[in-house]
C-alpha cells in the first residue's frame, strides 16, 4: 500500500449507471452511448431531475441501466411520450434514447413532428444501419449494397431507395435548435460525442428547444463482424455516407460554451 502511494481515481462507473452488467453484445457501442449520457448527467448534476423514455430496440432495457425514472414507449412513439412528460413537468430533463428503426422507420412521423414543434426534449439517436433487436433487417439507414437479413443480396436502391440522413433532414426544420452527428469509433470521436451530448442537455436546460445527437454506432452481431472489424466498417463505410458535423445550431445555442 505504502509503496504505491496515494491512489488517484481516474476512471469509475458513473453514479447514474446501475451496477447491472448490460445485455448488449460484446463490442456493441450502445454501452458507450449509455456511459456518455450517464457521465454528462452526473457532471451536470441532473440525475435527480431526469426522466428517460426508452424505445423499442436493443436499448429497450435502457431503463435497467440508468439510475433514474424511465418509461418505455411503443415502437417509434418515444418523442410523443416525451412530449407528454415534458409539457407537464417542464423543469425535468426529459430525453429519449432511440435506434434507427425506432426513430427513422416506424417513428419517423413522431421525430419530425417533435422537432418541428421545437419540443424542449433531447434525443439520443443510435444509427447502427440496421434493426438490431429483431435480427439485423434492413433499416432506412442501411447503406446501399449492405447485406442484411431482409436484403440478402444487399440493399437495392432501385427498390428500397437510398438511406435517410436523419440529422440533415431534421436540420431543415425551424423548430430544431440543436442537431448534430457524432461517431463512436475512436476515443477522439467519443470525446466529441460526449461534448455534443452535454451541449444537447444544456440546450434543454436553457429551454432552447429540440436537441438531438445522432451517434454512428456498431452492431457487430448482426453485421457478422468482430467488434474491431465493426469499428473499421463504421469508419470506412458509414462515415463517408453519414459525415459527422453540426447540422443545426440555433443562434442562442451557439452561445453555449462547453
Amino acid at each position: 500500500m505504502d509503496m504505491l502511494g496515494e491512489e488517484t481515481i481516474v476512471y469509475e462507473r458513473p453514479a447514474t449507471l446501475t451496477d447491472l452488467s448490460s445485455h448488449y453484445c460484446p463490442g456493441c457501442t450502445h454501452g458507450i452511448a449509455h456511459r456518455l449520457a450517464a457521465e454528462v448527467l452526473d457532471e451536470m448534476n441532473f440525475r435527480e431531475r431526469t426522466i428517460g423514455v426508452a424505445s423499442v430496440g436493443c436499448s429497450v432495457f435502457a431503463y435497467n441501466y440508468f439510475n433514474f425514472d424511465f418509461v418505455q414507449a411503443p415502437h417509434g412513439r418515444a418523442p410523443a411520450m416525451a412530449t407528454g412528460v415534458k409539457r407537464v413537468l417542464p423543469d425535468r430533463i426529459v430525453f429519449t434514447y432511440q435506434g434507427d428503426g425506432d426513430l427513422a422507420s416506424i417513428g419517423m412521423g413522431e421525430i419530425v413532428a417533435a422537432a418541428a414543434r421545437g419540443e424542449n426534449i433531447t434525443v439520443i439517436f443510435i444509427n447502427n444501419a440496421n434493426y438490431g433487436m429483431t435480427g439485423g433487417q434492413m433499416a432506412p439507414t442501411t447503406l446501399p449494397g449492405q447485406v442484411t437479413t431482409s436484403s440478402p443480396t444487399g440493399r437495392d436502391i432501385e427498390v428500397a431507395g437510398f438511406p435517410i440522413r436523419v440529422s440533415e433532414m431534421l436540420s431543415s426544420l425551424d423548430g430544431a435548435a440543436y442537431v448534430v452527428r457524432r461517431s463512436l469509433h475512436d476515443p477522439k470521436n467519443i470525446r466529441l460525442a460526449k461534448k455534443a451530448i452535454r451541449a444537447a442537455f444544456e440546450v434543454q436546460a436553457r429551454g432552447l428547444g429540440f436537441s438531438m445527437v445522432e451517434l454512428l454506432s456498431t452492431c457487430p452481431t448482426n453485421w457478422g463482424m468482430t467488434p474491431v472489424d465493426a469499428i473499421h466498417w463504421l469508419e470506412t463505410k458509414m462515415l463517408p455516407y453519414y459525415p459527422v458535423g453540426d447540422y443545426k445550431v440555433g443562434p442562442a445555442v451557439a452561445e453555449i460554451k462547453i
Binding site: 415502437h75 435480427g135 433487417q137 434492413m138 437479413t149 431482409s150 436484403s151 440478402p152
Partner: protein, 405 residues
C-alpha cells in the same frame, strides 16, 4: 412432395411462395421475423417472383397490401402483437374493400407489460374487423391453411381477407416434419390469381372507398356478414378438394372422441395436441371425455358447434386469452351459440397460457377434474377459472384468489 423438417415460420413462408403471391409487404417483429427473411431470400434469388416491400411500419405494410390487392395482385403479409395492433385501422379497410389478403399472425401477447410470448389476444382483438380467422395446431397445418385461406377468400362468394394464426415460439420456432407440396400440385388446388372483384382499372374507371351515409352503411355491414357466412360453404368445398389432392383432411371444428362424451373441452391452437393426450389418458381410465378444436374462429361455426356440443353434459372452454372485464373470448362465442338450444350443457371457462405460460398436461388434467366435479354437482359453481394461476404472485400483490365473473 417432399417431407422437410421446418419451423412454423418457414412453413408460412413456403406457403406464401407456393401460393405464388405477387406482393409481400411487411415490417419485422418477433416472433414473425423469419417469415419475412425467408421470403426476402426467395425473392432475391428468384425462387419467388414478387414485389418485396420492406415497409416502415405495419400500418404501412397493410396499406401497401391493400393497394396491391386493389389492382388485382395476390398480397401477403405477416405480423404479430404490437404490429397487428398498429395495423388495426387498415384491417377494416381491407375487409370493407373486399380484398382477399392473407396475413399470417404469429400470436404474441400485447404490452403493457411487454411480452414476446404467445397468447391469442392480438388476433382475437381483431375479431370484429371482417377478417376470417383460422387457428392452427401444427407446422403442417400452417402451410395448408394459408393455401386453403387464399382459395376460399378469393372465391367470389366470400372476398374478404384472412388471418392464419399460430402461437409464437410454440409453433413459429418449433420444427416438425412438413409435407411441402410442389408448385404443380398446389396449382391444382389454388388456381393462379384471377381477381373476381372490381379492381382499379383504367379501361373501366371506378372510385373506391367512398362515403356511405346512414341509409346504406348498415347494408354494407350486412353484405360483409353474408359473405363471411358464405365462407362455410366455400371452406367445405376447399376441404374436400384439399383432401383429394393432398390427402389431409380439415374441418372448421375438429373433434376428438366426443361421440359419447359427457365432458367436452373446447379450445384453439396448439394446446389441442396436449389435450388429446390427456383425453386418451382419461379415456383409458374409463372417463367419458372428449375434445373440440375450433379451427375456424371467423366465421364462427355456431351451427356446427351446436350440433357437436348440445349432447354433452358439461363443456369446458380453455381460452388462451381474456376479454378483460368479461370472460375468455372463445367462451363468450361458444356460450352464446348454445344458449337457445332446448338442451344445453353446463359451461365453464378456463383461462390459461397467457403471455406464454405453458399449457401442459397437468393444467388440462386439472381442467377435466374441475369439469367432472361440475358434472357430479349438477351446477356450475364458478364460471371463470384460472387453473394454472401463480398463487405466490397473487398473494404478494394482494389480489383475491376467490372471485368469479
Amino acid at each position: 412432395m417432399a417431407i422437410e423438417f421446418i419451423s412454423g415460420c418457414k412453413a408460412a413462408a413456403e406457403a406464401a411462395r407456393l401460393a405464388n403471391v405477387d406482393v409481400v409487404a411487411a415490417y419485422p417483429i418477433t416472433p414473425q421475423t423469419s417469415i419475412v427473411e425467408y421470403l426476402a431470400k426467395d425473392v432475391s434469388n428468384g425462387r419467388l417472383k414478387a414485389e418485396m416491400v420492406l415497409a416502415e411500419s405495419e400500418h404501412s405494410a397493410m396499406s401497401a397490401c391493400v393497394g396491391a390487392s386493389m389492382v388485382g395482385a395476390r398480397a401477403f403479409t405477416a405480423t404479430a402483437s404490437q404490429g397487428l395492433a398498429l395495423m388495426h385501422e387498415v384491417l377494416f379497410y381491407a375487409a370493407g374493400l373486399r380484398l382477399p389478403i392473407v396475413s399470417v399472425i404469429v400470436n404474441r401477447s400485447l404490452a403493457s407489460p411487454v411480452s414476446i410470448f404467445a397468447d391469442f389476444k392480438d388476433s382475437l382483438a381483431q375479431r370484429d374487423t371482417g377478417w376470417l380467422q383460422f387457428y392452427v395446431e401444427s407446422c403442417q397445418e400452417i402451410l395448408d391453411s394459408v393455401l386453403i385461406a387464399y382459395r376460399v377468400i378469393e372465391d367470389s362468394r366470400v372476398l374478404l381477407p384472412a388471418f392464419v394464426c399460430m402461437e409464437g415460439f410454440v409453433l413459429s420456432h418449433l420444427s416438425e416434419p412438413v409435407d411441402v407440396p410442389d408448385v404443380q400440385t398446389v396449382s391444382k388446388f389454388l388456381p393462379a390469381c384471377d381477381p373476381k372483384y372490381p379492381t382499379l382499372d383504367l379501361k373501366d374507371p371506378k372510385i373506391f372507398n367512398v362515403m356511405a351515409f346512414p341509409d346504406t352503411y348498415e347494408e354494407f355491414e350486412r353484405d360483409k356478414q353474408i359473405s363471411m357466412l358464405n365462407a362455410f360453404e366455400a371452406l367445405q368445398e376447399a376441404y374436400q378438394d384439399f383432401e383429394k389432392i393432398f390427402g389431409r383432411k380439415y374441418q372448421d371444428v375438429e373433434t376428438y372422441r366426443v361421440e359419447d362424451a359427457d365432458i367436452v373441452l373446447a379450445t384453439m391452437g396448439a394446446a389441442a395436441g396436449t389435450a388429446m393426450m390427456v383425453v386418451d389418458q382419461l379415456r383409458s381410465l374409463g372417463e367419458r371425455v372428449g375434445l373440440v378444436k375450433v379451427r375456424t374462429f371467423r366465421p364462427f361455426p355456431r351451427r356446427q358447434l351446436r350440433e357437436i356440443l348440445s349432447h354433452a353434459r358439461v363443456v369446458g372452454v380453455l381460452d388462451r386469452d381474456l376479454s378483460i372485464g368479461s370472460t375468455g373470448i372463445l367462451f363468450q362465442e361458444l356460450q352464446s351459440s348454445l344458449y337457445n338450444q332446448p338442451q344445453r350443457p353446463l359451461m365453464q371457462n378456463f383461462i390459461a397460457g397467457l403471455g406464454g405460460r405453458d399449457i401442459h398436461q397437468g393444467t388440462i388434467g386439472a381442467i377435466f377434474q374441475s369439469l367432472k366435479d361440475t358434472l357430479q354437482k349438477g351446477f356450475v359453481e364458478k364460471n371463470l377459472n384460472w387453473p394454472d394461476e401463480n398463487r405466490e404472485v397473487l398473494s404478494i400483490w394482494g389480489l383475491p384468489v376467490d372471485h368469479d365473473d
